[in-house]
């Protein structure tokens, strides 16, 4: 399922500009597919490997197969493990893709899904909903994800307007600076509200720390439409992001409407970030490290960086979550600890080897 919905749709359909992109995409697809298979086959429940594969095939393929798993094992596999693996793939895909887009738009290597205040805005929205929101048990829709989305979009909108408003040249730096200020302001508000109400402080913390451990099919279904819209939109912009790489004035001279490209890319990346953040909480690091690693290995063209970041981001987070689930089994390790602990040294290694070469 993951393999079908995830990489193939984009990998095969993306117009191949230059013959050397296809091998890279094939590698990315293979990495993600491999990671998903590893993710599905490992976990604290220790299910039989062959049976697990047959069971997944039974669900995915239009044939009736007997996996030999007990009902309880089949439930664990299909209701707990598979959605968690797919959610990890989707969230890593979105965060890394958004990070690559932000870095391209702002021509700033430190831009990532959290630089523009979207995370702080999402946190403020969610905290407000938790602290002041009505009892939501009977509501047809939960206000929490809505509030976090609204907060993220508000923060980015404010950052964008302030950043472009103060500076006629619409330089990328001023938007990032505005984003940092907005993030600080929203974080201050969020902390204040959170500290005001100690009855709900635990719920707020739980939300902030993320919920990969409780992934369900509902989460996967929630994220998928955003993944398709954001990925499709960003990939459509990949050539313009390449033009933007040469510089804003130069890009404008080449006929590119810089502000429009920037707004479209920022809106798409923010939407993707907000979708990811609203289901799994803050998973830092993916949005910065994955696109940079891809750049170091495969080159800086966004025709490569964008799709490869998405594929590798998904693979990276699935593998990180495998470690989070199994290293201390049956206990969990926070996913952010794993991504940083294994990702940072790996990135430094790539950085060093490329510098030498």
């Amino acid at each position: 399922m993951a393999v079908a919905v995830g990489p193939l749709g984009i990998g095969t359909r993306a117009p191949v500009a230059g013959s050397r992109i296809a091998p890279w995409l094939a590698c990315g697809v293979a990495a993600l597919a491999g990671a998903v298979v590893i993710g599905i086959l490992t976990g604290p429940a220790g299910l039989p490997l062959g049976g697990s594969l047959v069971e997944v095939a039974d669900h995915v393929l239009p044939v009736d197969l007997d996996s030999g798993l007990t009902a309880a094992q089949a439930t664990i596999l299909w209701e707990i493990r598979v959605p968690r693996v797919l959610l990890g793939a989707a969230v890593g895909w979105l965060l890394a893709g958004a990070g690559a887009a932000y870095q391209g738009v702002f021509r700033n290597p430190l831009a990532d899904p959290f630089t523009l205040g979207s995370a702080a805005g999402a946190g403020l929205g969610a905290t407000l909903a938790i602290v002041y929101g009505p009892a939501t048990g009977s509501w047809p829709l939960d206000p929490l994800p809505v509030a976090s989305f609204a907060g993220a979009l508000l923060a980015v909108a404010v950052s964008y307007m302030l950043g472009t408003g103060v500076d006629r040249s619409r330089s990328a730096t001023s938007i990032v600076l505005a984003g940092i200020a907005v993030a600080a302001f929203f974080t201050a508000l969020q902390t204040y509200v959170q500290q005001r109400d100690t009855d709900t402080v635990q719920r707020v913390y739980t939300w902030l720390l993320g919920r990969m451990s409780t992934a369900t099919w509902d989460d996967v279904r929630l994220v998928m439409p955003y993944l398709i819209v954001c990925s499709g939109g960003l990939l459509a912009l990949r050539r313009m992001l390449d033009v933007l790489r040469v510089g804003e004035l130069e890009a404008a001279a080449l006929g590119l409407h810089v502000a429009r490209v920037r707004l479209a890319a920022v809106a798409l990346a923010t939407l993707g970030t907000a979708a990811a953040v609203s289901v799994t909480g803050l998973i830092g690091f993916v949005g910065i490290i994955v696109p940079h690693t891809v750049r170091l290995v495969a080159g800086a063209s966004y025709r490569r960086v964008l799709p490869l970041s998405m594929l590798c981001g998904g693979a990276f987070l699935v593998l990180a979550d495998v470690l989070a689930r199994t290293l201390a089994s049956p206990a969990e390790i926070p996913i952010g600890v794993v991504t940083a602990f294994f990702g940072a040294p790996f990135f430094l290694l790539v950085l060093r080897s490329r510098r030498r070469a």
Binding site: P44, A45, A72, I76, E79, I80, R81, R84, A120, G121, A122, G123, A126, T136, G137, L141, D142, P145, V146, S148, F149, L153, A157, T187, Q190, Q195, T198, R203, Y205, T206, W207, L208, L209, G210, R211, M212, T214, T216, D218, D219, R221, L222, A267, L271, A275, V277, S278, T280, G281, L282, G284, F285, A328, S329, P330, A331, E332, G336, V337, A340
Partner: protein, 320 residues
């Protein structure tokens, strides 16, 4: 407007927001906060603060209290309950914002988690009781010559009795305190004696929040469960804290005989929400209606109401 589609793009994005919410029935996760938060584990607050601290025996600091205090400030919900239970309630002039029992306790905005020395001193107390001194409150109040009694979260049931006894001694109500602890011991023994005796040892999952933080048998709550012959499914996952986070897979694989929910208030969980979780309806405890909804406060405090906690546990045990 120079870029007429800027507001349109935002509006479209916001519409997407609403659409998304509708897809999603339960609470979501997400976050702001600096990236560093993602690397720290937060065990659930109320009990986690106990884990890394010295054994639960109480310690006093500051100048030795010369005579029985007349103006007590309690920043510990447990101590508040104990003070009122031994008849020292009239001496209590202020309690923290978490001290919601008994109802007549003079609840204020004071916080035990983020204590404000000036605000506490303004109550003009001659004894301050706290359950956590990570903020070095005892030292700060000591400079103001205000005695502080630190009663850390209990590690054992005997710690509970010792702390109540100490509160009795400090407030000149030792005999009431001794009577209370004697009654608690008797009630606890009676609750255990009256509880169903399963033919084989039962295993439980005690849920601290809806991300599956739990307790092991070595924690204070775990010891209460042990009185009933119960063992935690998390014992293999003990990370040293006593409060590990389990994966959903591990819980389903362990298939506990009984589930205790200590997150009915914080996280609005119930037997119904547990049964509705993907895959959980196959659990023995869910099928046997052995999902026990506890009061979060009862399950996280170590005062006189541990007897009520124990009775709730006993009442929830499957009768086989």
């Amino acid at each position: 407007m120079k870029h007429p589609w800027r507001p349109i793009a935002l509006a479209v994005a916001l519409l997407g927001v609403v659409g998304c919410g509708a897809d999603r029935p339960d609470a979501a996760g997400g976050t702001p906060a600096p990236a560093t938060t993602s690397t720290t584990t937060a065990a659930p607050l109320t009990m986690a603060s106990s884990t890394s601290r010295a054994p639960g025996a109480a310690t006093t600091s500051g100048p030795t209290a010369p005579s029985a205090p007349k103006r007590i400030v309690s920043l510990s919900p447990t101590a508040t309950e104990s003070l009122f239970a031994i008849g020292a309630g009239p001496l209590v002039v202020a309690v923290d914002d978490q001290s919601n029992f008994p109802a007549e306790a003079p609840r204020t905005e004071l916080s035990g988690f983020r204590p404000n020395v000036e605000a506490i001193a303004a109550k003009n107390p001659d004894l301050v009781v706290i359950a956590d001194d990570s903020a070095k409150l005892a030292e700060a109040l000591g400079k103001l010559k205000i005695p502080v009694l630190v009663q850390l979260p209990a590690k054992t049931i005997d710690d509970v009795y010792a702390q109540i006894g100490e509160l009795g001694t400090r407030t000149g109500r030792r005999s009431q305190a001794d009577a209370l602890t004697a009654r608690m011991k008797a009630d606890l023994a009676a609750a255990v004696a009256a509880a169903p005796k399963p033919s084989k040892p039962l295993r439980y999952y005690h849920e601290l929040d809806d991300t599956y933080y739990t307790v092991t048998s070595t924690t204070f709550a775990g010891q209460l469960y042990r009185l009933f012959g119960l063992t935690s499914i998390a014992d293999a996952a003990d990370d040293g804290s006593g409060f590990p986070q389990l994966s959903a897979e591990a819980i389903l694989t362990a298939d506990p005989d009984v589930i205790f929910l200590a997150d009915t208030k914080c996280c609005k969980q119930s037997a119904r929400t547990v049964a509705a979780r993907p895959g959980w309806s196959t659990l023995k405890a869910v099928k046997a209606n052995a999902v026990v909804e506890l009061d979060d406060d009862l399950a996280s405090r170590w005062g006189p109401r541990i007897v009520e906690f124990a009775r709730a546990v006993a009442a929830g045990l499957p009768r086989s």
